[in-house]
């Protein structure tokens, strides 16, 4: 009896793991079908800037400084030569990318150019999220989000 219950626990737990892995893999591989419309820059939970991508000509460079205990986050146009915590974002028709950051690891920069709605650019140390908002094209599977 004891061996039987252990075997069934083993079976159920393995099944849960495999199911989770398969669903995850499917969600990663199924692409979204939305069209990029605007870009939202969120720093520390606050939306600091929203840019309309449809009316964008050329490129736009923004530098975001995360807020601290005594001041809110702020955004300036262009690159910034500073030692302060910051992320520099480049927004163009082809997509959005982070081109400069002071953070460790620089995962935000290595995420590259993103142009699919829902796919965020994230910098955990600077609490920055850049996300592309989409325009729905027909029926869209919201689960990929």
């Amino acid at each position: 009896m004891r061996i039987k219950s252990q075997k069934s626990a083993e079976f159920i737990l393995t099944a849960v793991l495999i199911l989770t892995a398969v669903i995850s893999l499917a969600l990663i591989l199924i692409p979204g079908k939305e069209k990029a419309k605007s870009v939202t820059v969120i720093s520390g939970g606050q939306t600091v800037k929203t840019i309309d991508m449809t009316g964008l000509s050329g490129e736009m460079i923004l530098t975001v400084f995360p807020g601290t205990a005594d001041r809110p986050p702020r955004v300036s146009e262009g690159v910034a030569l500073t030692d302060e915590p910051h992320n520099t974002i480049r927004i163009a028709e082809a997509g959005v990318c982070i081109i400069d950051s002071d953070c460790r690891g620089r995962i935000c920069i290595s995420q590259g150019v993103v142009s699919t709605p829902g796919v965020p650019l994230v910098c955990l140390p600077n609490r920055l999220i850049v996300v592309i908002n989409g325009e729905k094209e027909g029926s869209v599977d919201a689960q990929t989000y």
Binding site: E10, L25, I42, V122, R127
Partner: protein
Amino acid sequence: MPRHIENRTKKTVILGLMSALSLAVYAIESLIPPLLPVPGIKPGLSNIITLYCLRVFGKKEAGAVLLVRILISFFLFGNATSLIYSLIGGAAALGIEILCDLLLKGRKLCITGAFGGLFHNAGQLVTASLIMGSGAVFFYAPHLALSGILTGCFTGLCAHYMLRIKIPENP
């Protein structure tokens, strides 16, 4: 020296060594550059020590070693944000590992480890969404689930082979 005191001393020494080992593994792991451009993916090698302590000593001791490792790494590297991530991820992982270990009666450590990795990443993802103040990070939930299962399976296997090494009774 009475035997029970000797055993207690030995246990204290080994748990201290385990904490040091866990911290060393954690420090070495942080030197490995990120392999994938997804925030939060890492090998989680200190989970090997957590699983080992859970099997050899029990849940209280595993929790103590985990807590000591997290606190010392906070004092050494001094990052309050990563302290919150570590505490929540560690607690979620240890919690599910204790449960799995009970259900599996201590066998199949790679399943226990995989659940630990999965719940560690889930805990950290929820923390990230709260700290960043946006649900956009949940986009990475599938990536983190998959990597948590794979790395957890690996650390579970490592712990399994580590358990085969016998600590000499009277060296």
